[in-house]
Every structure is written in C-alpha cells, then in structure tokens.
Amino acid sequence: MSREARRSKTIDRDSRRIFLKTALAAGGTLLSTRLMPAVAQGKTTISYISYELTSAAAGPELKRQIAEFEKANPSIGVEATPTPLAQYTAKVATMAKAGEMPDVATADVLWLRGWINEGYLKDLSPYADKAGGKQYLGQFYDTLVKLASDGNKVYAIPAFAGGYLIYYNTDMYKEAGLDPAKPPTNWDEMLAYAKKLTKKDASGNTVQWGWGIHGQNIPADVSRFMQWMYSNGAEPLSADGKTALLDQPKAIETLKFWSELYTKHGVVPPGAVQAGPGEVRSMFAQKKIAMLVGIIWGLDQVFAENPSVRPVTAIAPFPKQVPNAPSLFQAVYNVMSASSKHPEEAWKLLEYFGRPESGLGLYKATRYGPVRPATFERPEVKGDAYAQVLAKVNQQLKPPPIHPQWERISKVIGDAMQRALTNAKTPEAAFTEANAQVNQILK
C-alpha cells in the first residue's frame, strides 16, 4: 500500500472514530435525558403548561404561586412552559397525541369536553375523594364542577370563572345625557343608548360608536354571541344535544338584532368581522366605543392600555331581553395529563392552585373571577365594586354549550355571524343554512 493510500486509510479510520464517538455521546445524552427527566438530586420535576403564564398580569402571579408551592413541597420541582394562546391548543393536542402532554395544563371550558373525549385527561376523582370528596368539590360553583365531569368522574379543577357582563364608559354616558348609574337593562335600552352614544364630527365622520361587536370566527367571539342568545332565551342546541335550534325564531331574532347594530343602525365601528376580544377592548381603551360585552378580567388589559379610562369604566350585568336570562360564563380549569408519570405530584400542584388563597391571589393580581361563592365574602373582595357586580352576575350562570363537536358547531355559527355582518345573507338565511349544517354535524 502506498504512503498516500495508508494516510488516506488512517484519516478514514480516525474520521469514523470521531463520528462514532460523537454519535454515541449525543445518543447517550439524549437517552439519559429521556430516561431520567424528572429525577435530579432526589427531586421529582413535573411539567406545567399554560397560556396564562404569558399574561402580563397572571404570569407573575402564577410564577409566584409556583415558587410558593415548591417551597412548601421541597421534593417537587415545577417546570413551567409559557405558551401563547394562539398556539396553545395545537401544541397541547400534538403533545397529547404523542403521549407527551405536560403533567399539568390549563384548559378553557370550551376545550374541556373535547379533551375529555379524546382521552387527554386523567380522572381526578380518586384524588378529589382523598381530598374530601363532595366536601372538597362542594366549595366550587356547582356548575363549574359539572362541566368538568363526565358521569361520576371529574377531570378538572376550576381555576377562575366569570359571567359575561358589559363594560361602559361613564364619561361618555354623561356627555350623551345618560345616567351612568342606570346602564341598559334590555335590548331596546341598549340600542337607544348606543344611538345616543354614537357621535359624528363636524365633517360628518363618526368618531365615537355606541357599541363594539366581536365578529371574528373564533370561539371567544362565538361565546360572546352565545351571551346574546341566552339573554334572549335562545339556545343553539336542544337539551339532549341532538338537534340544532338555530332556525328557531328567538335565535334568528338574536342574530338579526346583533348584526343590525352594525349593518343598519351604524352604532358599531367598521371592521367588525376582524374584531376579536383584544381589538374591541382596545377600541374601548382608546375611547372609540362606549360599551362592549366582556369578562371581568379583561378590564385590566383595558386599563393597562390606557390608564385614564380606569376611573370612568363601569360594569353591569348584560341586558336581559327575557326575564331571568342567565349569564354565560367563561371558565378556566387546571387539568392533569392522562399520560402523567407523576400523578401524585401533579395532583399536589392542582390542589395548590385550587386553594382559596391561590384563587384570591389570582383575583387580586388579575381580577380573574373566583370559583367559590365564599370568596366574594372575603374582605379583600367585598369592597371591590367590580367584584360585587360579578357576584350578582354569577348568581345566574349558565355554561356555554357543552358538546363534543362544539368546535365544529362554533365555526358554523361563526360563519353565519359573519355572513349576517357582511350582508352576504340575511340573518334568517344565514341561521337556516347554519342549522342544516349543524344538524349534519350532529348526525
């Protein structure tokens, strides 16, 4: 063999050795991190994913609670993963399908049924029984527990909740000759107020609108529309969830009134189809609109954008078109992954988040609605005017429609809402078509 050939062979052999060593080292590191992710220095680490961790208000409070939990439970470490809401459900669904869902996660009530049906979540009943069973679960609003249950099994612990209500600008009320102490109590008043609160400048351009509409086809906006439905005594589905009721007079009347605020009365700013919760709150913060339907914890986002609106912002129960109409509520829960390898430790974190002190801390930091009636009697909450309105709203709560196919049904309703807003179809035609589509889904 020539010198060059020997040299080449040596280089090849050395390169192969380097390659194999590197591959072994990388593989070994990967294997070790996969096999021993949670045990370090005698500590069990559990993973926690939440979009609330990305919130400017809730994030710091949750991190504080996690630090407190770790201090109280030195053998448990919590690895928190903040994930923006826009990617949250896709990320969790992907992780769950791969059997890699974090031990503890946040779940909005709108996703809960789907997650339960897909088998993502662990039954918490055995843990709740050890914690006190009915006495433990009885401290929460009954409706919240029912929504988290499937038969006798409970799959989630309530974190925060609140009924929809209206925000309104008291200064704009006064300028329009309205009494801020008397917000609208029904739809006729709502329309009359909205017209008075809509102002034009000298050139005839509208510079202030009476109402903000949520017209995006996203679950949060469809939820807000459901509030309108409930306040009119309308339902999207029959009680057994097998038949759509969108073609009923009350449902069509709701869509007609709601869309005509925009298409006929001109009390809603342009761009309603693109307006989601953030956009509408922003318009309120910028004093472009006088009223909107919202949730109590959206207030701090408004105040953060424009602190000057804080003293002139009031809230009130959503106007009822039929007597005793309930408020639809939004709720968020904490859940345990069905594939959690540390269920005992994960339950401890769930239990910690579910304590009255944790809920109170969250309320004080973010105004996230308490999940226990008893919390409203606490001195820190009793003196809060906003909390007292929420307590009144929470007396008549109704859950959003709970159905395994609600995501698909919500999209159909959202499409109908947008068709009515854009005059692509009349409200009657839009909901009649939607009704047929929903009945197809329900088959």
Partner: protein, 275 residues
C-alpha cells in the same frame, strides 16, 4: 458509505416517516377515548363530497394563480429595472430583497393593520386621494382574498426578481446588439431576445412558486383565519382546523395526502423541465 448513511438516516426520519405516518393516519379515524379505527378510504370519500373542501380548493387555486402571476410580473419588472445602469444599483438590489427577509407572520400582522378599516394607512391614503371609503378589506368576500394575494405578492416577488435578474445578466449582449442593428425596438428586443432567453428561468420560478403558494398557511391564518365566513379558507387552513380544532386527524391527513399528490404532479413538471 459510512458518511452517506447519516444523511439517509436523517432523510428517512424527517421525510419517509412523516409521509408514511400521514398515509396511515389518512385511512384511520380518531374515536376519542376509544382510540383510532381503520376506516379505509372513507376520509377520501368524504373529501369528494365535502363542499368546504372544494371551496377551499378553489380558494387555494385562486390564491396560487394570483400570487404566481403577481410574483412573475412584479419580479420581472423589478429584475429589468435592476438590470439597468441606474445610480446606487447595488443598494436598490438589496432594498428589493427586504420584503422577503421578514417572517410571514410579521408581514401578515403588518398588512392586517395597514388594511384595517378604521386605522389602516391604506384606507387613509385612499381617502386622501378622494376615494370614498372605508374599504372593508376583510369584510367583503370579494376583497378579502385579493387583499391577501396582494400581501403575498409583496412578500414573495423578491425571489422571482433575483432569479430573473441572474438570468437576465446571463443573456449575451451581442443578441441585443444584433437586434438593434436589425432595427428592433426596445419592445421587440424584449419580446424576441429577452423573453426567449428567460423562458427556462420563468418556468423554474413559476413551478417552485406554485408549489410554495399552494401550501401557503401563515399569511391566511394570521390575516383572516379563513374568514369572512370561509371566503379565504384554503386547504392548509382547513386541514389545520380539521386536526387541531375538530380533532379529525384522519380527515386532515387525507387532505394533506391529496394536496401532496397535486403538488407531486407539479413537481414532475419541474423535474422534467430541468433534467
């Protein structure tokens, strides 16, 4: 062989495995806690009868054709301009690449605000020109998709312009000189010298652009989420909703397979042209 094996391993992992997994998923249906069940071609049959799928297919096709045509026309015009002896030509060449440098999400958010009915700069500019508005770009079905196509043209034309510019620079000057001697006007030179020499580059750009735009997701998802009322729903956003909102992973996988077959046909054209 030892040094090629890792590449095959990586390709096998990131290409073959997902493809096989998607094909497998497309013939299955998720039944929640009951697990997944084999359903054969049921997902594909459902696709054929699903009006939403066909509407999304139509939107995908419209979006692709509009974007590709826009990229080619604007790209060619830019390339022709940048091929001229103009002052600060290198600087303009760099500036022309700027739209391409931004992430799709950033472009989508920016243009969404620019096209906002109330606060958007585009409506303000149109109003200053005396045009009656406001133009509800994302509320009118006939405006929403064109608005997204225009955004996509702005973002994607630099690829066409840089590729065509390279092709332009490869055209021998003698051909233009000969044409000029024969009395050809600039327009005739463009038609009989430039275009024939650019044919190959144009085909490459058009084919690649068609593939990229047919499976485009980010701009549409961020700008309109498929609205209003499905007017801008394309196959990718529909598949996303099917999987992550409706938990219909099998159905979404079937959509993915159909899209891949369509793009495969386009790829065959590309490969045959360049080989």
């Amino acid at each position: 062989m030892a040094f090629v094996a890792p590449s095959f391993l990586v390709l096998g992992t990131v290409v073959a495995f997902p493809v096989c997994n998607t094909l497998w998923l497309s013939v299955m249906e998720s039944r929640g806690k009951a697990g997944v069940v084999f359903v054969g071609l049921a997902n594909y049959t459902r696709l054929l009868h699903d009006p939403e799928f066909w509407a999304a297919f139509q939107n995908s096709t419209t979006f692709t054709i509009g974007s590709v045509l826009g990229h080619l026309v604007l790209g060619l015009l830019t390339a022709l301009l940048l091929n001229q002896r103009i002052p600060f030509r290198p600087l303009f060449r760099i500036i022309s690449l700027v739209p391409w440098m931004f992430a799709a999400v950033v472009v989508a958010m920016t243009w969404r605000w620019m096209l906002d009915a109330q606060l958007g700069i585009i409506n303000a500019a149109l109003a200053s020109l005396g045009l009656r508005g406001p133009f509800l770009w994302f509320e009118k079905a006939r405006l929403a998709l064109p608005a997204i196509v225009v955004t996509n043209i702005w973002r994607g034309f630099p690829f066409a312009s840089i590729t065509l510019l390279a092709a332009l620079q490869a055209i021998p000057k003698e051909q233009y000189e000969a044409a000029a001697v024969d009395g050809a006007s600039p327009l005739m030179q463009f038609r009989f010298v430039t275009l024939p020499n650019l044919k190959f580059a144009l085909i490459i750009v058009a084919t690649l652009d068609t593939i990229w735009n047919f499976k485009h997701f980010d701009l549409i998802q961020v700008m309109t989420n498929g609205g209003p009322a499905g007017a801008t729903e394309v196959l990718t956003t529909l598949a996303y909703k099917a999987s992550f909102e409706n938990f219909e992973f099998g159905y979404a996988a079937a959509m993915g397979v159909v899209m891949s077959l369509i793009l495969l046909a386009t790829t065959v054209v590309y490969v045959r042209r360049i080989l």
